[in-house]
């Protein structure tokens, strides 16, 4: 814990949710990416995060950090598209197993959480300024 730690802590949240938004953007961009059945389908990324533990029992925690970006199934959705140039001998290709609605829901959650952390930064800044200005209006 250092000086103005609330701002730093909220910064870790902002970084984490920015990563989540980046990951969702990548998943959405590849929602129609077709792969041949000989290889893996495009695998959606997910964000795995953990808290930054406090140094002592009487201290606030240090925020959150991204630990890994696990991938969804490599099998994907086997789809019959015989006209696709990537189709195998039986006419199948692999489409990514990404649920658009789920991704949109996650995007809204990530955006709102990012905004909440930004609001905490603003509020903490105001609070610290109040503390600095104690005794100025005498």
């Amino acid at each position: 814990m250092s000086i103005f730690s609330a701002i730093t802590t909220s910064g870790t949240g902002l970084s984490t949710f920015r990563t989540w938004i980046d990951v969702i953007a990548n998943n959405m961009a590849n929602i129609n990416t077709v792969k041949p059945t000989s290889g893996a389908a495009f695998q959606a990324q997910y964000v795995q995060a953990e808290d930054i533990a406090a140094g002592a029992p009487d201290q606030a925690g240090g925020g959150v950090r991204v630990t890994a970006l696990p991938l969804s199934s490599a099998e994907g959705r086997l789809t019959y598209q015989p006209s696709n140039p990537l189709a195998d001998a039986r006419g199948y290709v692999r489409l990514p197993d990404i649920d658009m609605a789920e991704q949109m829901g996650n995007l809204i959650m990530a955006q709102r959480a990012f905004q909440a952390n930004a609001a905490v930064v603003d509020r903490a800044r105001e609070t610290y300024l109040d503390a600095i200005n104690i005794g100025k209006n005498h």
Binding site: I3, T8, S15, R18, R125, Y128, I132
Partner: protein
């Protein structure tokens, strides 16, 4: 008469180097050595925090200008922290100078 608070701040401000603690005889005698050294070193740490916060914000500003910045909020947060730390330091300095002036203005 020396006021260690002002001495520590003014010694550190122009160079932004670690402030040298002015250990006058009255500083050690009046309130005890540990208290005055504690306050001076606290001020010193504060000044160092100001300079490091400002240089961090400066570096991130350059990164933002050159397009190397991946996290926008990294810069805005560093700028907010530099602003707060600077305000805190100037507030402490103003309070020290005020106390000095009040003592200087005392009539015999």
């Amino acid at each position: 008469m020396t006021l260690p608070a002002i001495g520590a701040v003014s010694a550190a401000l122009p160079t932004l180097a670690p402030a040298t603690v002015l250990s006058g005889p009255d500083a050690t005698a009046s309130a005890g050595a540990s208290t005055s050294a504690g306050f001076a070193s606290m001020l010193e740490k504060g000044i160092n925090a100001v300079s490091s916060a400002q240089s961090k914000a400066d570096n991130l500003a350059v990164q933002a200008a050159t397009g190397d910045l991946t996290d926008i909020h990294d810069y805005t947060i560093a700028a907010a922290q530099a602003e707060l730390v600077t305000q805190l330091a100037t507030t402490i300095r103003t309070k020290g100078v005020d106390a000095f002036n009040q003592i200087m203005g005392m009539q015999a």
